[in-house]
């Protein structure tokens, strides 16, 4: 029997760019969210003002306060979407029986929704060529139009900031893969330990023939994009946990740690927190504490990262979240698929425009960390219903691979991205015989 040649796993140079999502240096002094909107508007207005001369050079740029009836002009401001179905905490205290129509199962949209544009000087209701369904609160745009006699602003054209500039991709000549997995939900009823073990064994090269192992050896990194554990709701309802249950809460994390330890022993792993993980609720979610992973954290290949997570692998720029930003857009706006929501966030140059309005967010005073300053090459979103991917091409030759990562515990699918050509494929595992 011939002795098989030893295979060596490929390496890729990695740099973590999560610094902007840290909140360690921040000090809460009772500030509210107005500062975020101010910094966002300031930053985006500078961008949009620079684009206006090439868009409509003949038109004057004014503010909401400076509008004159019937005069064509351009205004820049933050959109606010007035939604009658949007849940409000005040409804609970309303004395009158509400006559609000029922909410659709997934979405708070209603045909009466309308948009309002605001800047420091005032706000104006919008009408005309701006579909409320495609926008959400918090997006900054430039609008061409004129004020009507009713005091509304009749929009003729909309200018979004567009895809940010992108760094050139250096040509690589060998295949290197990054594996994305999300929604492991260890500890939930849908989690299948065998399925996850198969994924681990495949990635670490313990499965398949030589051909398959060669592919596995090209995997340079695994990214776990949120919701890795599922903690039973009865433990997180605010009640004191009985002492006999205290060890049970930690069980899913311990199990995850055992699994991750197998992975980090063989290749680098990034783990991001998600909305169900034991991390802070508001974005940016801070890295899961290393003490949760007593086994995996002993390896230097293990890195606990923030959500959103931004990094660079062999000059390929990655940006991704565990899904909260896109899920929130899905609640408050409409698109043909999740990839379109992702595309919009890139064109708006903002990762989570609905934060802080309907998405939890830290009250920054001097910056808005979710502004996208440079275009990533790969943009991923975790915990989605199904796998979707598309290559988005921008007007300045930007190329972005958009990836929706499905929940692994439900689909058994992990996503594999080739760094050489940004091609995307799935790794699918099934443990039932009839499939």
């Amino acid at each position: 029997m011939p002795v098989p040649m030893p295979m060596e796993r490929k390496q890729a140079s990695y740099s973590n760019l999560d610094e902007r999502y840290g909140i360690q240096g921040e000090k809460y002094q009772g500030q509210q969210y107005s500062h975020i909107y101010f910094t966002r508007l300031h930053h985006m207005r500078n961008l949009l003002h620079a684009l206006v001369p090439s868009w409509k050079p003949q038109l004057p740029v004014t503010t909401v306060l400076g509008l004159e009836e019937g005069k064509d002009c351009i205004i820049v401001g933050t959109l606010y979407k007035h939604m009658k179905l949007k849940p409000s905490i005040l409804d609970e205290y309303s004395k009158e029986r509400s006559a609000i129509p029922l909410v659709k199962p997934h979405n708070f949209m209603h045909p009466d929704d309308h948009l309002v544009l605001e800047d420091e000087s005032g706000r104006v209701t919008l009408a005309g060529a701006i579909p409320p369904a495609a926008f959400v609160t918090g997006v900054v745009v430039a609008l061409h139009g004129k004020e009507t006699s009713a005091g509304n602003f009749l929009v003729e054209d909309v200018l979004e900031a567009g895809l940010p500039p992108q760094t050139a991709l250096s040509c690589a000549d060998e295949d290197k893969y990054v594996v994305f997995v999300s929604g492991l939900s260890v500890g939930s009823g849908t989690f299948n330990p065998l399925q996850f073990q198969l994924l681990i064994d495949h990635i670490t090269g313990h499965l398949g023939d030589e051909n398959e192992q060669t592919i596995a050896s090209n995997i340079v990194r695994v990214v776990v994009a949120g919701n890795s554990v599922h903690i039973a709701p009865r433990f997180v309802n605010g009640q004191t946990v009985a002492s006999k249950d205290q060890s049970r809460i930690a069980e899913p994390i311990k199990e995850l740690d055992i699994m991750l330890t197998q992975l980090v022993a063989s290749l680098p792993v990034d783990i991001m927190p998600g909305c169900q993980d034991p991390a802070n609720f508001s974005l940016p979610q801070q890295p899961l504490h290393r003490c949760l992973f007593s086994g995996a954290s002993t390896y230097n290949t293990f890195s606990s990262c923030s959500n959103p997570h931004q990094f660079e692998l062999d000059s390929v720029q990655f940006l991704g979240t565990s899904g909260q930003n896109i899920d929130d857009l899905y609640k408050y706006s409409d698109a043909k698929d999740k990839l379109e929501f992702m595309e919009r966030t890139l064109r708006w140059r903002h990762l989570a425009p609905t934060a802080p309005n309907s998405l939890g967010c830290y009250p920054y005073t001097d910056k808005d960390p979710f502004l996208i300053e440079s275009c990533p090459h790969a943009y991923f979103v975790g915990n989605q219903d199904k796998y979707e991917t598309r290559l988005l091409e921008g007007p300045e030759k930007q190329k972005v691979r958009l990836i929706c990562i499905p929940r692994f515990s439900e689909s058994g699918i992990a996503v594999m991205l080739n760094l050489r050509n940004l091609e995307c494929s799935t790794l699918s595992f099934s443990t039932s015989f009839d499939a």
Partner: protein, 131 residues
Amino acid sequence: MASSGMKDFYRQKKKGGVTKASSSSKKKTQQYTGGASVGAPDTAQTSALVSHGSWDLKDDFGDQEEQLRQFDMDTKFGPCIGVSRLQRWERASAMGLQPPAHLRDLLLRIPSTKNRSDSTPSVECLWEGKV
């Protein structure tokens, strides 16, 4: 049972000035030094109008405080509440909004809380503690 627990939980604020509604009529007459009359019962307004136990009706701030208040109220430099005046100045400067340079010197010269007289300007914005 619940109400007595509440009293312990929330610190009772009313130390000086107005204490109780029963005795307030007597005290009111003593405290009216200015001629201005306030329509609403004073319990609702104490924190805004009474500082250090006396009516805050005259402008007891200096020229520097006046300049800083004008800076607070300038919407160009963004919201003022929740950040200190110096932080707001630094933010405006970092954003390229060119806030008045002499205000920074002024803010840096404000003495620490210990040896302050009433006329020294505040490090916090106009609304701090009032809304």
